[in-house]
């Protein structure tokens, strides 16, 4: 069964249509790149899946259910913006996440933090921006969720941090779960993707397996993207 299914999904904000008639299915065990320029509807789609927005028309289902209390157990969400209380330390956060989520794997979080050689007693506000982003990703990936929604996880980090983040994603998701990564930094993520979905002005411009796309075009997903979105 598809973990995420959109049919005819449409969402407008006033006169602006953010998503229009989106049909999409994400199978379990896939890492999917939700790719599109700024303003193409990526975050809107993620917020709809999370139940943070309600569809205008059409339908979005997570694990066969409409977004709500039940589907929140299935989804682990990394928002675009920093959302954690900055007076907490990484250690505090682990307690916080363990209280909120039954599926939080504290041992996994501790292991990832150890590899980062980060002082887990230090308050977030005293960490660098890059470290804060990594801590937030670790909390999200340490949940044993069915669907990980990562909104711009590599925006604004250096190449070494980007490698750490991608490695954390591939080594922590379990094969029954799916990961949706929204980004416009395609060259950086395409190696970790099973599937790609190009969003353009709220519509699905292309959906394909990443390697099939590379095979058909004989070039990288990034290069195909540049052609599709040529200004």
């Amino acid at each position: 069964m598809a973990i995420l299914k959109c049919s005819g999904l449409t969402k407008s904000f006033g006169r602006v249509t953010a998503l229009e008639a989106v049909d999409l299915e994400v199978e379990s065990g896939r890492i999917v790149g939700l790719l599109g320029p700024n303003g193409s509807g990526k975050t809107t789609l993620i917020k709809l899946a999370n139940g943070l927005l309600a569809p205008g028309s059409g339908e979005i289902l997570v694990g066969g259910k409409k977004p709500g209390t039940e589907t929140k157990k299935l989804i682990s969400f990394l928002p675009e913006r920093q959302c954690l209380p900055d007076w907490m330390s990484a250690r505090d956060l682990m307690g916080f996440y363990a209280d909120f989520y039954d599926d939080f794997d504290r041992a996994a979080a501790e292991e990832m933090l150890k590899r980062l050689e980060l002082d887990t007693g230090k308050k977030l506000k005293h960490l660098s921006k890059g470290s804060r982003e990594k801590v937030q990703l670790i909390m999200v990936m340490a949940r044993r969720a069915k669907l990980y929604l990562l909104d711009e996880p590599i925006g604004g980090v250096d190449p070494a941090a980007r490698d750490y983040i991608l490695e954390t994603i591939i080594s922590n998701y379990n094969p029954e779960a799916s990961v949706i990564i929204s980004t416009h930094l395609i060259a950086d993520v395409e190696r970790v993707l099973d599937d790609v979905v190009f969003l353009n002005k709220g519509r699905v411009a292309l959906a394909s397996s990443a390697d099939d796309l590379r095979e058909r075009h004989g070039k990288s997903v990034d290069m195909v993207f540049r052609e599709v979105f040529k200004c």
Binding site: R30, E167, D194
Partner: protein
């Protein structure tokens, strides 16, 4: 193992190619046990399913084999390894010939060129 992917064809194909070269050159020896897919994927920085697809392709070609409970191994069949080695060598020669042709060299000039490079090497 160092992993570099170019922007050309599919990633799984590039992994197949790289592992073939490692097996042909003996970097991965006959009967050697391969790390788990997840581990390989993380070290190459690619999707585990993509790496799995590459390994399935190598299995299909008889270069690696899987034992259900203990993992994947490089074949011990030296005949297969040697035929891959020859196939890769032939391809390198073809590439060499076509780039020489593009530079306007004739086939009979090539031996002279190779000797010349050999002398250069000795002088170093």
């Amino acid at each position: 193992m160092e992993w570099n992917f170019d922007s050309g064809g599919p990633i799984y194909g590039q992994i197949v190619e790289k592992l073939k070269r490692s097996i042909a050159s003996g970097e991965l020896g006959p009967g050697e046990r391969l790390p788990a897919v997840r581990e390989l994927a993380v070290s190459a920085g690619v999707n585990p399913n993509t790496f799995q697809r590459a390994l399935s392709e190598l299995e299909r070609e008889g270069l690696v084999y899987a034992i259900r409970t203990s993992g994947r191994y490089v074949t011990e069949d030296r005949g297969i390894i040697d035929s891959v080695r020859r196939e890769l060598a032939r391809r390198s020669v073809r590439e060499f010939l076509s780039s020489m042709e593009a530079l306007g060299f004739k086939r009979e000039e090539l031996h002279g060129l190779i000797d010349l490079v050999d002398t250069d090497k000795k002088e170093e």
